[in-house]
Symmetry: D2
Subunit: 343 residues, 4 copies
């Protein structure tokens, strides 16, 4: 079997989660998110983000989180601004539009959007009410291509949104990886400060499934449970979600796992740099996009699984490599050795 660097959701979950499931299995709990684990995980998150008034809701996946948040926050005539690489713009099978809302795409080099780009969209939509009204800005951090927002970028977006009465919502499917990236100047509590809502991703960082939606804007918390239920996202055994977050947040396991994933990616990145290889974008999280010759790609493919991401020219393509909590040091070492031998 080949080692896989295709994604960060190929394995089950961190063993500590299985252990916790076994320990709590027969404890009877209230259904639909009213179990003690959800309540405890919510408190842990409120404490970590230093925002006791924030509310936390656990759902099963990222598309689900995005769909529920956005459709709950917006009125029918309001629209969303996102990068064209944004998960909601291109990889959620039209979930947001299916709930009635237009998503404006911004073309970017690095997956990140700026106030200036949003401003341009606002400017060409002044013919009211013939044009939709922009109301929510969607960003991902880390982005879908592995880059991260700096504190200044985040604060500028937050200021711009407040001035323009736009909600700022952050998709944190890989928020752990962003936070644990080298020299990162943003903390978890900054997200509570700068966004109206964000989600902390579990699925891609060691959980079987689960994302924690965190709503900081109190007005937007109102009756949110109805939307979770109506979209079919309220698990009878919500305990499964709460318990996993409780376990991941205990002793900062969540951050350890993200750090581990990043470290493996950075070792691989180093190895590619040492052989003089370029990259599609500069990333410090668990995704890297080295540019290789067709021959090099063929050589690596013999022993490893990964996606060929983008054709650069007739000779070269960028590949995508993703590491995770389940990528062992050994796998990384073997891969690095293969990279060094590339011709």
């Amino acid at each position: 079997m080949k080692f896989s660097f295709k994604n960060d959701y190929s394995e089950g979950c961190h063993p500590r989660i299985l252990e916790a499931l076994i320990q709590t299995n027969l404890s009877p709990q209230s259904g639909y998110g009213h179990d003690e684990f959800c309540l405890s995980a919510e408190k842990m998150i409120q404490y970590k983000i230093k925002s006791p008034h924030s509310k936390v809701y656990f759902v099963s996946g990222g598309t689900q989180a995005n769909l529920i948040v956005i459709s709950a926050f917006l009125r029918p005539h309001e629209s969303v601004v996102a990068a064209e690489t944004g998960h909601i713009f291109t990889n959620e099978s039209g979930a947001i539009e299916s709930s009635g809302h237009k998503v404006h795409g911004i073309s970017t080099a690095d997956g990140k959007i700026t106030p200036e780009q949003i401003q341009k969209i606002l400017e060409v939509h002044q013919n009211k009410p013939h044009q939709v009204k922009q109301k929510l800005v969607y960003i991902s951090n880390a982005t879908e291509i592995g880059t991260v927002y700096t504190k200044e970028e985040l604060r500028n977006l937050s200021d711009f949104c407040k001035e323009n009465k736009l909600y700022l919502y952050l998709d944190g499917a890989r928020l752990g990886n962003a936070l644990m990236s080298e020299n990162y100047d943003v903390t978890l509590e900054d997200f509570a400060k700068y966004t109206d809502a964000f989600y902390l991703g579990g699925t891609k960082n060691g959980a079987l499934l689960g994302e924690a939606i965190i709503i900081n804007n109190e007005k937007l918390q109102e009756e949110f449970g109805f939307h979770i239920k109506q979209k079919g996202a309220m698990l009878a055994k919500g305990r499964l979600l709460g318990l996993q977050f409780q376990e991941l947040l205990k002793d900062d396991l969540y951050f350890e796992l993200a750090k581990h994933a990043n470290r493996q990616a950075m070792k691989i990145k180093d190895a590619f740099q040492q052989i003089g290889c370029g990259f599609l974008s500069e990333t410090f999280t668990n995704q890297i996009f080295p540019i290789l010759s067709q021959d090099q790609i063929a050589q690596l493919s013999e022993n490893f699984d990964f996606y060929v991401w983008k054709k650069i020219d007739e000779e070269k393509s960028a590949i995508r490599l993703i590491t995770s909590w389940a990528t062992t040091e050994e796998m990384t070492e073997i891969f690095v050795n293969h990279i060094k031998k590339l011709k």
Copy 2:
């Protein structure tokens, strides 16, 4: 702590499922339902229902299953017929209407609907196109109040639907309990034969979460995956769903668990009958609705948790008791002893 008869989803899952999770945890699998467990569970179901052309899709919960199936099957002007006690009519926070479709409610004594009742709805909706067009009949088995459809009832509904070009869709949140009810004359393969689609419930029968949607009508299978994704129901680690069904179906564990739950309910029912107690409806599955005096309810409440379901008169109310795979013989025995001592 009181023993609980409030519902069948208070505990985690059957231990064999935890065991299977541990065994398979580090095996890398394709995402989004293309893992080997989903494929194997689909084959097991196709075999059990003797319908190799049926397709199986795994999702997380009942509301989600109903929402995806119904919104995928119907065009915008088509509506659903259901019992007023039907889960979609009253307990899914308007999920079906949220996807654009009217649900016509039929008032019933026992939670089951008949061709005659559907016929009446068709008759008063002949003013086309000013009235919606009925296109799908939704039934639950066991129903939300514990009753079951006989083979004849099911066949009659199926015939009626075919004659009237209506889809027949069955909510099987508690299908195991229906199948394992005493002297039941319907088999699992009958559901493949008589319905266009149905789902086999996991959450209420020993799984952590998970329902298996089974589409028998080949025309309705077309591009179904898009709808699962668009509604946010496609788990990255779909393996979690497939694996549980694989384990539940192995050695018929699924049916054993349902049988066990039913048996506990029937023992409790017997105990109530022996003290001369009446019931709101006659059930043979894992739900019973004994009618008790306020005083008797108070006595039982001291040691057991359950819902008071419906006020009968000033003196009496029906309570709802639900048993499950997790209800031990010991719990049942203790409860029965308390019943016998009721004054």
Copy 3:
């Protein structure tokens, strides 16, 4: 050609409207409702209802008005309460559900709903968030079966809605007929006082098309134009709607036409009463529902068009007769003569 009593929209429009169209035809006007006629008609309505803060929006038809109002007012998890005879419940091809909202139907004898009936619906929907949240009460006046709400009934509904944070919305497709019914104790300004919004129907009272939506609750006026545009209801030549209302409201033509229609219906009602005929419901507007033998129905059908409304028994059925601004005194007289000769 037979005289028709089938409905109140068989002819074009009152001749004064045609005259006004001719007079103003070549005057260039701003599009999309910003023409001088819409502005003037809005002022006339604000003045007549003594509610200068109310906003007026003109759309083309009743289903459109209901759809836009309700979908603009509600959040996704909120539902509507209506009589089962309500136009939105049964005759709008699921338009409200199509916009995502459940409509709860109340069975009534006379098409009118009471606070007690709404209260019962609220009571059985306390399982939040598993059940939808009731937020808007829809009533019609005159109702779809010709009855009217008294001032006390209207005030009670209004009080009840305020206490329960429900919006009260009134469908006034035949509001003119209600207002002009004999001894009616409600005035146009009462509707501004007691409802959050209502519409004043033009199509069924002399206009070619057009309904005036009047929003009294200022919070609900916000950004309403977007919803009109998004639903495809914003006419480029909105002048056509504004001009008609301006003309209908000038010299109270609107009320004259409704009064005329009611008078014709009452003359016919008298004639039926004189021959000892009963009625399905007691009405004082432009709809009557006499109960006739099959033979009597056959006799009248030879010379007049109308709908057979409801079978009473093997012998008898109720027919529906509708008069309008276009029903001439002569038509009525001829019809009355035929009634008198019925065997």
Copy 4:
């Protein structure tokens, strides 16, 4: 009062329509589009497009036509491809997304899209079912910026759509102007041949309101009436729509009016060309976009109304001029004289 070249819907309607309204006003007709005028207008259209199997439906406006057609044709996971200048993409307040469907925008210089551009969108959406499925191509003719599709372009699009199982739908708000443009090689019947559906615009070519939706693909005609009703677009007095199209199509008045409008625009275009003025795009219909200095714009603004469309540089902007059936030869002459005197 200034003469206006702001749009083609500032005045009422062609006098012949008013005359027809007067003539037919008191003739009782069936409601909801079953009147004799709608039936006759449908036959006239079927005859003119030489497509007796096509079905014709009359609605009130362009956004409404687009919304109903697209939402009726598509399943929930299907999307639309359009030019970024397309009316549905930018000027319908999100109506298409509101019905659940994503619209992919193509950036164009001239408002027209090509098979190659559509092909690129198909290519980047191969990750099924994570991405929406493209199913309908929306084009406008004349486009929103006055250009027209040649027969070859139209045929190529049609062929491409058939090969790729895409529906081709044409927005004909200004189809008359396209057909009457100089040397145009496409005929009305070509649209029946090359598209699955298109609409023939009335509002911008002499009607008070009204667009004729023509569905050529028989499969898509099925139950279309439900969608018209559900979207609130079925006028009780549908006669108003049918009658206008009957009158416009009689003696080819419709084409005369479009020709007249085009001719006025071309005279103005000539005048600008004679003074050496450039244009934003080359158009042969009733819209022109001359590029003028700020000073020239100021001079014209003193006596004429028009929109400044697009800033070209610090010195110059393009203005938009639209002519219509109501633009008199005299107005044009006066305007031309002012152009000649521009400094």
